[in-house]
């Protein structure tokens, strides 16, 4: 079992800044990509980290929303951050309507990134809009030569598969309805790879982001295998900064160990969003 951690010290300190929308466009129906311009002192961000972003309209009081960072690069005069998001409710619909130039309050980079294990080959799983952070990880692994990566990329149907114009590694698509790539879920695809000897216990490691339901299935599937599995989880955030205790995720307590009641839940915004799949008590995770 791999304990994700010890990284807090090596990540950039979070800053609250004003982000300007550079561009904002649909990638596939209902899923958008926004590019945000930030001041140059911001970041750098690591794959798996997130931002707390104000969603328009600003007159409407409300909580900010967490979004995984899909990309972060220095540009002339500042830093460019990309997010990929689904328009699922009021705030993300509001964001989808933001025009270039709109100014939004943003805090980040926040949270624990993926902790790539150099000694293992990385098998990345991105379900739906969960593709973004794992794609960033794939690019990162490519740059850092941490070991060859393969990216499994799932969606409900072909038209929902987010295009990957310039893939940093091998990509294998899968769709629930078989309309493109492998016919089945990403876990089904893993199983078939395992059956075909393409996935090796003791040698590979899994890094995943997607719907909580998919991550739960993945956790169950990998539990009894020697395949360390890091997942980027979601829950409702109040602050994203460890201030509100809103983002509790139940974790397993070692049988017999004496732990305080406080240890039953961890704050996902601080101990996550990337966590070891086996540490999570999936029975208590909501969808």
């Amino acid at each position: 079992m791999t304990r994700v951690g010890g990284l807090a010290a090596s990540v950039a300190p979070p800053r609250t800044v004003i982000a300007r929308v550079e561009s904002n466009r649909p990638l596939v129906p209902g899923i958008f990509e926004a590019v945000l311009a930030l001041p140059s002192e911001w970041g750098p961000a690591r794959p798996g980290q997130f931002v707390q972003l104000e969603c328009p309209p600003p007159e409407l009081f409300g909580l900010r929303r967490p979004f995984s960072i899909a990309g972060c690069r220095a540009v002339v005069g500042g830093v460019e951050v990309r997010i990929v998001y689904g328009a699922v409710g009021m705030r993300t619909h509001g964001l989808a309507q933001a025009l270039p130039g709109v100014a939004l309050r943003l805090t980040g980079p926040l949270g624990r990134p993926f902790d790539a294990m150099p000694e293992r080959r990385a098998v990345l799983l991105g379900g739906g809009r969960g593709l973004a952070p794992v794609l960033m990880l794939a690019e990162h692994l490519g740059r850092n030569a941490h070991g060859a990566a393969i990216l499994l990329h799932g969606a409900r149907t072909a038209s929902q598969l987010i295009p990957i114009p310039d893939p940093p590694c091998e990509v294998r698509p899968a769709t629930d309805d078989g309309s493109a790539g492998f016919h089945g879920t990403l876990v089904d695809l893993l199983q078939s790879m395992s059956d075909a000897g393409e996935l090796l216990e003791g040698r590979d490691a899994l890094y995943a982001c997607g719907p909580n339901r998919m991550l739960a299935a993945l956790a169950a599937w990998s539990a009894e295998r020697d395949l360390p599995c890091q997942v980027s989880l979601e829950t409702h955030f109040g602050c994203g900064l460890g201030m509100c205790a809103g983002c509790a995720v139940p974790v397993k307590t070692t049988a017999g160990a004496e732990v305080s009641a406080f240890e039953r839940f961890v704050f996902l915004c601080r101990e996550g969003p990337v966590m070891d799949a086996q540490r999570i008590d999936w029975a208590g995770v909501h969808e």
């Binding site: 409702h236 900064l241 509100c244 909501h286």
Partner: protein, 329 residues
């Protein structure tokens, strides 16, 4: 400790009016009975962690004080997720007082907090009066505590917590019991979910409270119409944020009318204008909660905005504004 340090270091308490004359900087200092604060803007309990979480601690420098997340005798797990749901101009939470417990608070949290140079008010919760008493007893020798806020109002603790909120004698009983074990100032944080907040305020004042914080969250409920379940795993939760501001302000007025001990206003304050409404009605300090989630520097902005308003109105101190509400007859 001086929270109203000039924004510009060169400007030693004097600034220039538009006509060029030197005008003294408005005095933001307030006293609440035995408690003296550099300015009237505090963070609200449970919305700023233990002060160690917010990565941009600079946001706290210059605050009037920090009220900690409520501490209980034993560590508490809190409620299952989801614990948060957004509502129109507000949010519902059912954290359920997840906290590390008083012993870990003393060793792991308080020292860092106390070193920030900002007054620390420790919020204390419990299920029975004895739990409050024991928690305060363990805390009260520790250095760096300016006052206690006795949380007799959490709507998210199922095991009897509601009794303290809503029965004046129960709330007073807790205060009375705690009063016996500490000389530190005691504020009682009241629930707004009562017919007459004034009655509860009077009861805790008679029991020895040095101040009342008005108020905690309002009980609310939101349903997922598809699953027919509550949006929060615990069922109902507490509503906070701008939505409740007019309600909290009316409760503050009730408390100000009912008691002579200082009242601390809390509920939906987001801007300096909001805070000023509470001060005008008679609160001697205010707390900022939910607004910090949207903008971690909200409380600092409120301090600056209050100062700017005092200048614009030609007032020399925030005291000159407190309680100036010209009530209709």
């Amino acid at each position: 400790m001086n929270g109203d340090a000039p924004a510009n270091g060169a400007d030693a308490g004097i600034s220039r009016s538009m006509s060029g004359e030197a005008v003294p900087r408005p005095v933001l200092k307030v006293s609440l009975g035995p408690v003296s604060l550099p300015n009237p803007v505090l963070t609200a309990s449970g919305t700023f962690g233990y002060g160690d979480e917010e990565p941009e601690l600079t946001g706290m420098l210059g605050l009037g004080g920090i009220v900690t997340k409520t501490v209980t005798l034993e560590p508490r797990a809190g409620n299952a997720p989801p614990r948060i749901w957004e509502t129109p101009a507000g949010m519902l939470n059912s954290i359920g007082l997840q906290n590390v417990g008083v012993d870990r608070f003393l060793t792991e949290k308080l020292p860092a907090l106390a070193s920030l140079g900002v007054p620390v008010i420790v919020s204390v919760g419990g299920r029975r009066a004895e739990e409050y008493v024991e928690t305060v007893r363990r805390l009260q020798g520790a250095p760096g505590i300016t006052a206690f806020e006795i949380n007799v109002s959490c709507p998210n603790v199922k095991e009897g917590g509601l009794e303290f909120c809503q029965v004046p004698s129960a709330a007073a009983g807790v205060v009375e019991a705690v009063r016996k074990v500490t000389r530190l100032p005691l504020w009682a944080k009241l629930s707004p979910n009562v017919t007459s907040l004034g009655t509860v305020a009077r009861a805790v004042a008679e029991a020895g409270a040095d101040g009342v914080t008005v108020a905690n969250t309002f009980v609310g409920l939101c349903i997922d119409i598809r699953t027919r379940r509550s949006r929060l795993s615990a069922g109902s939760g507490g509503l906070s944020g701008p939505a409740i501001r007019p309600l909290a302000l009316a409760r503050v007025r009730d408390a100000v009318r009912a008691v002579t001990i200082p009242v601390v206003g809390c509920g939906g304050i987001t801007t300096a204008e909001d805070a000023l409404e509470f001060l005008i009605v008679g609160a001697r300090a205010v707390q900022i909660g939910t607004a910090s989630f949207r903008d971690p520097r909200a409380a600092r902005g409120v301090v600056e905005g209050i100062e700017a308003f005092l200048r614009a109105e030609g007032l020399t101190s925030v005291e000159a504004l407190i309680g100036t509400y010209r009530e209709e007859v």
